[in-house]
Every structure is written in C-alpha cells, then in structure tokens.
Amino acid sequence: MPDRSTENRASLMGWAFVAPALTLLGIFMAYPILWSLYMSFQTGKGMNFKFGGFANIIRLTQDPVFLRALSNTMLFLVIQVPIMLILALLFAAALNNPKLRGRAILRTAIFLPCVTSLVAYSVLFKSMFAIDGIVNDTLMTLHIVAEPIRWMIDPFWAKVLIIMAITWRWAGYNMVFYLAAMQNIDPSIYEAARIDGVPARARFFKITIPMLKPVILFTTVLSTIGTLQLFDEVNTITASQGIGGGPADSTLTLSLYIYNLTFRFMPSFGYAATVSWVIVILVGILSWVQFQVAKDR
C-alpha cells in the first residue's frame, strides 16, 4: 500500500529531524536530572558515595545555613517579584498611551538595563552603592539620610540592595511583554468603555488586567523560576574576597549554597543535589499554585 509507506517514510523523516536535539537533551539534560535525583539519596564527601536514604533530607532540616539560604531566597521572591511586575505593568500602561510625548525614548531607556550582563550590572551597582559612593552622596545631599547607609555591611540593607538591583535589571524586560500584549487589545473595547463613562482607573482594572492575564501568568512563572535560581548578583554585588552572599550569609541564596557545597567547601555532591531538588520542587509547587490562581479568576 503506497499510503502506508509514505506515512512510514514521513515518520522516519520526523525522527531524523528531531534526533540530534533529542540525543543531546537526553545526555545533557534528562540524564543529569535523573542522576542528581539519585545523588540526592547518596551521602559522603568527594567521590566516595554510599546510599544514605533520607539522611540528606534530615540534614536539610537541621542545617542552619540551608534554612537561611531558603528564607533569603523566599524573601527575595515574595518581595522583589511583585514590586518588579507591578512597576512593569504601570510603565507599560503609561507608555501604551499614544498621546504620551517621548514615548519611544522612554520605552528604550527603561528597556535598556536588560542588555547588560548580570555580571556587568552587578559591578556597576557594587560601585555605585559603595559606602562613600554616588548613591549615599546623593541621599545625603538631598537630606534623605543623615549618615551614609552601610549597603554592603548591614544585612538588612544588603538585601534591599539586591532587590533594587534585580528590579532595575528586569522591570523593563517584563514591561516589553506587557506592552506587546496591550497593543494586541482591540482599541474599540476601550472606546466603548469610554463612551459608557467608565473611568480610566476602572478601565485599567476591568479591561487591561483581565486581558493581560496570560502574560501576567507567564511573567510571574518566569520571574519565580529566575529568582529561585538567583546566583550572579549575590556572587558579585554582596561578595567580598571572592565569597558571595555576604554580609554574614544575609544574601546567601539556594543556588549560591549549592555552588558553595560543590565547589567551595569539601565537595558534598549528594547533599548539594538534595538542595538543588528543593529548588525543583519549589518551582513545581509555585508554578502549579500560580496556574491555579490564574484559572480561578
């Protein structure tokens, strides 16, 4: 039957096109994922493994450094992501107004931070927030503070600094997603609402926000995954003498702790793998919750 042979040929062709990618993904993604799951049940230092059952999970609950890294990461997530996404949404709503003067310049300027590498902007923030640096100078000149803020020495301000830095880098990035989605909303909907006398604020909450729900969900999930893996910034901005996450581990994140466990201390691969699976599970749970919340509304 000629039909069947063309079908088989097409199927074979299909596999031929996807085979190189699937092979590579199998070796460099699927296999490492499964291996690290297996590793997380192994204990021991260096390359001497033995089966440890739930030993690593018990160790997690008793490890103050892990608990600190976990609470820092969650704090960054809970405070930074909403601030950044709300800012991005406000910028997008304002820039979506065609009557706004300087729209193109403003949009480009606010988007610009996301072309910098994480390392490059981290270095800029590190130098601007030096104790006698430009930011403290400006704050004191404007009489907002009386004494210089100890950005990289005080645990509280170090966290604030990291949150500000990430917001600077990513707000414009998220704004572009919202702007693109807003431009897809049919202007006649707004026109009709205006004629019916719906005020601007209500138009924003009753039309724009519901229409943007899929994009808001997308950016929330993406930002959650990104923040749970926070590494570059805390390994640069709040690092001193080559060790990140300072001062006194106040900006230590889960990813940085995994890095330290693997490469800085006597390598403890099994335990580090367990910590990495905490991130996997958190990503899974939080993405699921975010999808549920988006579905209900």
């Binding site: 062709m13 096109f17 990618a21 993904l25 606010i110 390392v119 640096g133 430009i134 690092a239």
Partner: protein
C-alpha cells in the same frame, strides 16, 4: 481635561522620566568610571576624569585582552550557530511531521523546561570531569546546544511557514533535507535573525556554567574576568569599568542596531 487629570498626567510623566533616568544612569556611570581612578569612583565622582589611558593600560597589562575577547566571541558565536542549527531542525521536525508519539515527546520537553539549571549542574560537572573536557570551549558550549526554549520557538514559528512552498518543492523533486536548507531557512530568515540575537546575548553574558567549567586564566571569558576583578580584596574600579564597557559594548551594539528583531526574539516564545 480637568485640572486633576492634568495633574495626574503630569505626575505620571515625571515618574516615567525619573524611571528612564535611573535606567540609563548606570550606563553613564560606567563610561565616566572608565575615565576615573578607583578612589574617585568609590568616592562618588560622576564627572569625567583624566584617568582613561592609565586604566586601559593597566587593564591590558593585567589581562590578556585579545585572548579573553577571542574566548568570549568564539564561545558566543559557535554556541549560537550550533544551537540555531540543532534547535531549528528539531522545531521544524516537530511541527511538519506531526505524530502522536512525537507530540508526547514534545510535551515531555516542555515539562523539562521548568527544571532549573541548578539540578543539572553537579552531574554535568562530574560528567565533564570524567570525560576530561573541563576547561575547553566544547565544555562551555555543549550543554546549551539543544535548547528546549529554542525548539519551542522554532516550532511556534514554523506554523507560519506556508505549506504550498513545501508542496511545490516536493513536486520539483527536492528531498526533505533540501527543502529545509534551500526553502525553509531562507524563508524563515527573520525568525533565525531574532533567535540569533537572543542566543548571542545569552551566550555572551553567561556566567555560572563557564565559572564552573573554566579553570585557567587564558580560557576565561570577559564576564569571568570582570567578576573576578570585582570580587578581589581591593577591586580597582578604574580598570574594572574599562573591562565592563568592553563586556557590554557588543550587546549594546546588537540591541541598538537590531532593536525590533531583538524584541521579536524575546517575545517569540509567547506568540
């Protein structure tokens, strides 16, 4: 317009210009910093200084700049090229040759997309050490070459590839791989261009994996050099700013020359 709405609009504009200023100022700060001494920079001097030449000289004395740049460009370009080739092949294959099994495999890939890199990092490190390819270009590039995100991106965009073109090419007796190379790639060149920009930026800016893989100074990329200079005991910000300008210049150029494509590539996966 009433007075209050005029006032709100004015306030809103002021806020936007302030946000734009905050967004752009660090770029100016970086350029000004390249012309100042380390003490001036951490002392908050934001006017241009006269220390540019000494900073450049010091940077070139301390670091093998041509070599570092070669490393960065080589890794970024080769990584981008292979990722485009492998991922566009797969995206095309998943979309053009639909089958139940392959659709299921694709669904599995999307599930893997949300597994963070941290969970693969340690096994990858052990694998690459055992294979004896640590500290090589290959080691930096290899884990990223088959990118699920890019496969997804190409699959989405292939939906817009006209099937009449494929049918006509088949009538002309072209083989499947010829259709891909002679018809698909030229027709989809704007899709490739957008993907290329995003990949180049990602590869150029990569930090964590290269930090794990690269062990010697002559293999380091510019990002690693900047980071290691900046986390030293007493960082010399003058020369660091020179390094930073050089590390950022390629991506800024790409952005300004190809802004529209850049945004297209970024939004590509969501369409």
């Amino acid at each position: 317009m009433s007075l209050t709405s005029k006032l709100t609009s004015l306030l809103m504009q002021a806020a936007l210009w302030l946000a734009a200023f905050i967004s752009v100022f660090p770029f100016y700060w970086m350029i000004a910093g390249a012309t100042n001494t380390a003490n001036d920079i951490t002392g908050g001097k934001f006017t241009l200084g006269s220390n540019l030449i000494p900073n450049i000289t010091k940077f070139f004395e301390l670091v093998d700049v041509p070599r570092i740049f070669f490393n960065s460009f080589f890794v970024a370009i080769a990584g981008t090229f292979f990722t485009l080739a492998i991922s566009s092949l797969a995206g095309y294959g998943f979309e053009i040759f639909r089958s139940k099994t392959r659709d299921r495999v694709f669904g599995g890939l999307l599930l893997m997309l949300s597994v963070p890199f941290a969970a693969m990092m340690i096994p990858l490190f052990v694998m690459f050490s055992a294979a004896g390819i640590m500290n090589t270009y290959l080691a930096i590039i290899l884990p990223g070459v088959a990118s699920i995100f890019m496969i997804f991106y190409f699959r989405q965009n292939t939906k817009a590839f006209p099937s009449e073109l494929r049918d006509a090419a088949r009538m002309d007796g072209l083989k499947e791989w010829q259709i891909f190379i002679k018809i698909y790639i030229p027709v989809m060149r704007s899709t490739y261009a957008a993907a290329m920009i995003i990949l180049f930026m990602t590869n150029w800016n990569a930090y964590l994996w290269p930090l794990i893989v690269l062990q010697t100074n002559e293999m380091k990329t510019i990002q690693l050099v900047v980071a290691s200079l900046a986390t030293a005991y007493t960082p010399d910000y003058g020369l660091i700013m020179v390094a930073n300008v050089l590390a950022t210049l390629p991506t800024i150029l790409v952005f300004f020359l190809l802004q529209r494509r850049f945004v297209e590539g970024m939004l590509g996966g969501v369409k």
